[in-house]
Point group: C2
Chain length 303, copies 2
């Protein structure tokens, strides 16, 4: 039927739902959805309750997993802010189209909320030594922004073996620490999530701390702010942050129970390959290539 | 002040406003905003009224410039649909996070609106012969999805000189023709705009017809649909399309008067370079590289 004009899905943060393709629709080559369906329990790991944040908005929950080995000092500071309930009652300050949503203290300029026992300045962790990362799995597809790319424990990373450094990359859904000009001017009191085409020029320029595992649409579909850089004007309603909690501090019954595909599991290589060369009747041309930010690690609700 | 934690802007569709940086803020190396400010009238071209669409939503206007040399048959069909007011009263059918917004006839399955004198099937124009494109300016930065990349008349393009083909690429804001499995199953009655990280695996798989020059945020900030592939369910309010008109058919006083930077003008090379190696006090690391979809051609309201 010419009226059923569809466009197949980009397999981004894949949350398992009952809406996966039925057996009759299965393409010849498995898609990411098929692979997720065929996966074993051992292909997945739970989130780390000590390093996973639940940001509760009026519109729902945003789950952010932190990657402490890539930004130990900044993440320690953020977790101090969370434990002391710094973010509760703050707001999304900025939504700039094809770029970022950023949250923090709306009264930062006039009557800033005290940081409590958190530090006001934290050294930038734009890159960390290679030895910090013991989970790197290289992706052979070439990349313009980094000598090597791949994934580590579910996070997209770049690395430069000559410089001995590695870093989290600015793919869609990645979360970073806003800063001013000074490299130590960030402290985690303002965080941002990438809501547009990966601004990879920010890599190695700012501290990236983790990624949004679910609830991304709550940030990406916010109205764009009318002021410079997408900041909301005084007359605009900012989305309030009800609370931010560590998963460990949330009762078991209220947790999201997300699992992340193990990037070191063989199935993940199949997931990447399914995106390099897509099967099924729709795809007529295969690029034989997949860009780092087009191969996100699948996430599911624990079955 | 540590409380003023900002993140500089990705220069995406740059609409000139009064909010550009003041002289005191000028970085040592010109930014895209600076270059736009310094540009001459001859660096810009007006939109082509015969091939520019105004899609009027309740929330505002989306301006789409078509690229007839890259999809002559599909664009002719779309323009027929526009002239016969096919799209008036239809709706946005789908918003899938980090992927596309798609519009068309909500009753396509049950009581489809007649296509009038437009064709029901149009041959896919996934690539066109190199000779169709006489405006190509190559961008030397390497790309994983195409042997060569660059811009033509303001549109991002890929090309394969051995195959003798060229095509528009799926960068943020690009508009394409939804289709079913058959390569000729699209006709322009359903169109989509890219609202997420560039799904470049769609390149050479589907007909791309143009790009959104303004109003992109009206599409990208739509609530995501709850059904498979981001389709809106029956209970969800779809954004209605009031009308779609050719710019040529809109009275002069009601036009948007947009101008597109000439990709063949020397200033555009400076614009790309400003994104390869960013100046100013904020940028501590320069990648010396810019990906095709991170170097969109600037757009402005005619001063």
């Amino acid at each position: 039927m010419y009226r059923t004009v569809l466009l197949p899905s980009l397999s981004t943060l894949v949350l398992l739902t009952s809406s996966l393709a039925s057996a009759a629709d299965l393409p010849i080559k498995p898609s990411v959805g098929d692979l997720v369906k065929q996966s074993q329990a051992s292909d997945w790991r739970p989130t780390d309750p000590q390093h996973t944040l639940y940001m509760e908005l009026a519109s729902g929950r945003v789950v952010i997993e932190l990657a402490p080995s890539f930004a130990p000092q900044n993440i320690a500071n953020i977790e101090t802010l969370v434990r002391e309930k710094y973010y509760d009652g703050l707001a999304i300050l900025r939504s700039q189209d094809n770029y970022v949503a950023q949250w923090g203290d709306p009264q930062a300029e006039t009557a800033p909320r005290p940081l409590g026992s958190a530090k006001a300045k934290v050294a930038g962790e734009f890159t960390v030594p290679l030895k910090n990362d013991r989970h790197f799995v290289r992706q052979p597809d070439r990349d313009g922004y980094a000598p090597q790319i791949g994934h580590s424990n579910g996070f997209p990373v770049g690395r430069d073996t000559r410089a001995g450094t590695t870093w989290l990359t600015h793919c869609y859904g990645m979360v970073g620490v806003g800063r001013d000009n000074g490299s130590d001017s960030g402290n985690g009191a303002e965080l941002y999530a990438v809501t547009g085409h990966a601004p990879r020029h920010l890599d190695r320029n700012i501290t990236v701390v983790g990624r949004v595992l679910s609830g991304m649409a709550l940030l990406s579909s916010l109205p764009r702010g009318s002021e410079t850089m997408g900041f909301y004007g005084a007359q605009e309603n900012r989305m309030a942050i009800r609370s931010v909690r560590l998963e460990a501090d949330v009762p078991e019954a209220e947790r999201s129970h997300l699992e992340v595909m193990r990037s070191e599991a063989p199935i993940y290589q199949q997931v990447i390959d399914a995106q390099r060369n897509r099967g099924g009747p729709w795809n007529l041309f295969s690029p034989g290539y997949v860009e780092l930010c087009n191969a996100p690690i699948p996430v599911r609700v624990k079955p």
